[in-house]
Amino acid sequence: MITRKPLLLIGLVLLILASCAKAEISPQILPLAAVGESIEPVDLPTESTPATTTSDPDYCVTCHTDQQMLIDTATPKEPVVESESKGVG
């Protein structure tokens, strides 16, 4: 009597080998940006948008770097009194 056992065993082995075979990957064609094509920037989400600040003017620097302003606002010069000292100090 011919038994069916060897045939079943061979079939099982072939099935296992077939399942371990490397799957063939078909190449994918990715779209490329055309040369010269502009890419629009995308806003990225941020946790918070920084508040717009305007720095206060530094009045000290503004005035003390302006020669004409210093001349215009200078305290009137007191008349120079010639020293009455005589000889080497």
């Binding site: 206060d56 530094d58 009045y59 000290c60 620097v61 005035c63 003390h64 770097t65 020669q67 210093l70 001349i71 606002t73 200078a74 305290t75 010069k77 009194v81 020293s83 009455e84 000292s85 005589k86 000889g87 080497v88 100090g89």
Partner: protein
């Protein structure tokens, strides 16, 4: 230099100053005042000279220096009081204090007087657009105050007398010898004050410029002169008994009879010096110590007289003879070769070089007993 216009004194060069460490701070941090567009409001509460209080201002970042600076001679002018106290008596101090405040105190200097502006006593004004100068420019700070003797001699401003060799040959600045430690009143013994600022603050104030360790000293650079390794016989013979200036100074300035008063017409203080003349005289060393072991030193006549402060009261210097009027000096007109270095007998047997009794006025003989040379070194027979 010519006096600065008012606007020149306060014109800030922010292109330079803004990039420096100090330029990063708001002006009002040091100068007070308020941010306002009109001058009057902006200047309310203004502190024009923040370093008048060095501990609060500069001390935040420079505590080692500001802890000791209040005891420095630049801050205290203690040398004046050392001399006044020796020549006077405590009951005269109140009148002398008024005199001092009127005529002497304006030479007191703050940190900013050297590092930011010209000293107030010479008119003030920013040195370099408010940039802080680590080494102040010599002629606008150091010799602007120390000018009539040290400055003029060092820079060679006296006719026919060359400037100091250190300036002529090397263009050395005062700070090349006079270190920041000395100028700030910090002793050269670093451990004395760098342990902690509080300990440094407890250091005693300097009495006068020749107190304690001799610094600067020529030997720091010219070590071979004192160790006899430079091949110069005179250095081997006289290395310990003559100060270097005895042989290497040339003629320097002496003054007589300074008197001070307040002008009746303007109300301003003024002085009058009776005489100024050139000398080069060696006296006996009145400050002979371990640090200054010399037998002879140059002596310079200082302009004190018994009646210098008579405007403020009679006989304010009753102990006038307690100190010499020919004082130990370190002239700043050093030359490698001088008339003294020509030969042994340029000094030996040469009374013209020494402060002999005949060169001292009769009224000052008693005061100068410690420095007058009664017997000059004997002539050395020529080989």
């Amino acid at each position: 230099m010519a006096p600065l216009e008012p606007w020149e004194k306060v014109l800030v060069n922010f292109d330079k100053f803004g990039g420096t460490v100090h330029g990063q701070m708001q002006c009002t941090v040091c100068h007070g005042g308020v941010q306002a567009s009109d001058k009057e409001t902006a200047h309310s509460g203004l502190i024009a000279r923040p370093s008048e209080d060095p501990i609060t201002g500069c001390g935040k970042c420079h505590p080692d220096t500001t802890a000791v600076y209040p005891n420095s001679l630049h801050a205290t002018q203690q040398g004046y009081w050392t001399a006044l106290a020796a020549r006077s008596v405590p009951e005269n101090y109140p009148k002398l204090e008024v005199m001092f405040d009127n005529h002497c105190a304006r030479c007191h200097t703050t940190c900013g007087d050297c590092h930011v502006s010209q000293p107030a006593s010479v008119g003030g004004g920013l040195l370099n657009g408010h940039v802080f100068e680590e080494t102040p420019p010599m002629t606008r700070t150091c010799t602007a105050c120390h000018g009539s003797r040290v400055g003029d001699e060092y820079l060679g401003k006296h006719e026919d007398i060359p400037g100091d060799v250190h300036f002529r040959e090397e263009r050395m600045n005062c700070a090349d010898c006079h270190t920041s430690h000395e100028l700030h009143g910090q002793p050269e013994n670093c451990d004395a004050c760098h342990k902690e600022p509080e300990a440094a603050n407890a250091l005693p104030a300097a009495e006068h410029r020749y107190a304690g360790v001799q610094f600067p000293r020529c030997e720091t650079c010219h070590a071979s002169a004192t160790t006899g390794q430079d091949g110069i016989e005179q250095h081997q013979v006289h290395g310990a008994d003559l100060s270097c200036q005895v042989c290497h100074s040339v003629t320097y300035t002496s003054c007589d009879g300074c008197h001070v008063a307040i002008s009746e017409t303007t109300g301003n203080p003024y002085f009058e010096t009776q005489a100024t003349y050139a000398t080069c005289l060696m006296g006996r060393n009145p400050l002979k110590t371990y640090q200054r072991p010399y037998d002879f030193v140059p002596v310079r006549h200082v302009p004190i007289s018994p009646t210098s402060y008579q405007y403020y009261g009679d006989d304010l210097l009753p102990n006038f003879d307690a100190l010499p009027t020919w004082m130990y000096a370190t002239p700043h007109n050093i030359q490698r070769t001088t008339p003294q270095t020509e030969s042994c007998n340029a000094c030996h047997g040469n009374p013209a070089l020494f402060l002999t009794p005949d060169k001292v006025t009769s009224g000052e003989l008693e005061a100068n007993l410690k420095v007058i040379v009664e017997e000059i070194p004997e002539l050395i027979p020529e080989p």
